[in-house]
Symmetry: C2
Subunit: 166 residues, 2 copies
């Protein structure tokens, strides 16, 4: 009579909830949807591999979300499928190497943007000479500053990566 909560998270332990919320928050930071954070959080604290069924049931998410989320996480390298003898289903484990997320973010989000940024700057610099002389000086200074920051960023990234990878 006091069981039977709204069918919701009744199946998750306090520890699991903490881990899940934590990863929802962190992964949101790098633009991943809630469901992905949930899945990774659950797998992260799970002492044994989980099948998709289990994940769906315990997190109470849809088939599609689970499948897509797992796919994404596998592509990132944050989750691996392991073989489970005598079971047709795939089972999933979290790769505990958290640097993966930071690394992926840097490689797939930051770096490409910086490259495109540099291209833009080059184009802007080409346009500069055609500006009215009064404005040119000021604008030139600004673009130079932009470039300076991009360069700085690009120098910094490899260093951060190194730090992340041990």
């Amino acid at each position: 009579m006091e069981e039977q909560q709204a069918s919701k998270d009744s199946k998750l332990s306090a520890l699991e909830v903490e881990a899940i919320e934590m990863f929802i928050n962190f992964l949101k930071l790098i633009g991943l949807p809630k469901s992905v954070g949930e899945i990774y959080g659950l797998l992260f604290v799970s002492p044994r591999p989980l099948a998709m069924d289990t994940i769906i049931e315990r997190l109470d998410i849809s088939l599609g979300a689970a499948s897509q989320g797992l796919k994404l996480l596998r592509n990132l390298g944050a989750v691996k499928a392991v073989y489970s003898p005598g079971d047709r289903r795939d089972h999933f484990v979290a790769d505990l190497e958290l640097s993966t997320f930071a690394t992926v973010f840097i490689k797939e989000e930051l770096m490409p943007r910086m490259e495109r940024g540099l291209e833009r700057i080059k184009r802007m610099e080409e346009i500069l000479p055609a500006l009215p002389p009064d404005d040119r000086k000021a604008t030139e200074a600004r673009i130079k500053r932009l470039r300076h920051w991009l360069d700085k960023g690009q120098k910094m990234l490899p260093w951060i990566m190194k730090f992340l990878l041990r």
Copy 2:
């Protein structure tokens, strides 16, 4: 007869378009909406302060978006209002110190999450002893790893900040 484009960006120079697109992309990265990127981008390449009217007109955005976007940018410290003699309107300039964005992001997004993360970890560690012995070991290791990463991150941040600020 070949003028009169769809009333759209006809008022923006190629240079402005580049800058705007660039900032839309970068600011999106730290979770800011398109309109904010547009405003900052326009101000960044503008050799002189712009009034809100001008911003609205040239970017073709709404009054509300302009007001809110400018407010946000002012709060971040990325835009300043300057006095323009003989004009009732506020005029806005971009603060060229791009580190502002990174700094704000770190301070308002990253750091708080890390703190909340540490709290969670502490709570998880308290729960640990109550786990079934077989699982405990494995889970303990995972949580230790989590903590390790958070610590690492927290150590890294001040360093990054220092790097950003010159």
